[in-house]
Symmetry: C2
Subunit: 238 residues, 2 copies
Amino acid sequence: MFFSASFAVSAVKKRIQNMPERHFDQELEELKANLLRMVGLVEQSIGEAVRALVERDEALAGEVIREDARIDEMEVVVEEACLRLLALRQPIAVDLRFITSAMKINNDLERMADQAVNIAERALELNKEPLLKPLIDIPRMSELAQSMVKESLDAFIHRDAALARSVRERDDEMDHLRDQVFRELLTYMMQDPKTINRAVHLILVARHLERIADLATNVAEDVVYFVQGKVIRHGLEE
Amino acid sequence: MFFSASFAVSAVKKRIQNMPERHFDQELEELKANLLRMVGLVEQSIGEAVRALVERDEALAGEVIREDARIDEMEVVVEEACLRLLALRQPIAVDLRFITSAMKINNDLERMADQAVNIAERALELNKEPLLKPLIDIPRMSELAQSMVKESLDAFIHRDAALARSVRERDDEMDHLRDQVFRELLTYMMQDPKTINRAVHLILVARHLERIADLATNVAEDVVYFVQGKVIRHGLEE
């Protein structure tokens, strides 16, 4: 009886010793660093895809498409790191929410990169025909999307719910720009059917940028949930 | 010393008693049942949105838009159930992977429902103008998307990697249908600029259906990872 009790004590101690706080914190820091690296790559992909479109730069479009493999690899690495943390550290409360949020955000970042690839592919398509018009609103949409992506992740890293909410509010501006692009391109198509193919591709580019902003909004909503424990998705707050 | 040892023993026992296997299994079953209920609602939304479009049924479109609130609520319920299971049960190995996969799949199901809402909203827009053409490929895309959604979740529930892989293969068929719709509608627009607005809306409906199939493919890839521990996303397998 005495032995088994002492065995239990040492088992409990061993369990505690196996969870050194400092190491866990280091692993969380590494996870954050990886997400920040990933968001940097994603931002760059979006910017370059739109630049390839605006400047009709096929080499740059090709680079965006090739670079996507690196982002895909990082997604797998981050996801496995999260699963490892969950399994080995069995975190609770805020750390648990941090890691499960990181898994979702990781997934969303990779999907944003896929949209950048879609834009690069359309840039290659559009290059087969003459320039339809100088692009003004699309680069504006791209800048907006990039800033939403960057700030949604900053909000996550710094647990800044106010910043996350401001990202979410900018989604309306994005929708407004998308409608503007849509209406303008419709006019082009109506006036000259030869522009239809190019105009449709540009409408879809605007959609890809809108999707990126939507994904950043998802991230921002997850951040508010993570920081404040409030669900603001689905307009549940209003 | 004896007291503290005995206290440790009872703490260990209590810990074990607090994790009755049977209850954990029940909670997992409940989680599965909720996901199945959710996938049923999502399938129904997709089907009804496309029926609203084909049959020009505004009331049905409105219903799809309203019903989305229920799916949004279920998403929150399922996510919180997953977080609770992770925090209280601290599952490891296959159960941990099951729950984290469920969280991702839950999120994907909700996004599919959002696409169904997009289709319903376009149905309302399209109803303001005369019918462009009888729709044939779009209902076909919808059936394909619905079957992919259903089977990707069946694959998850039954841990059936072969079924998951077959879902993934059908994504090519979806892309083929989308291109066919795109080309046909381009022809309409070129021949008669009055059709442009409607044709663009229909192209975007095809996109929404393609997104649903993409999300089902994401689910299928997560299932293969969950069952076989293999990452098949990003063509890493080839």
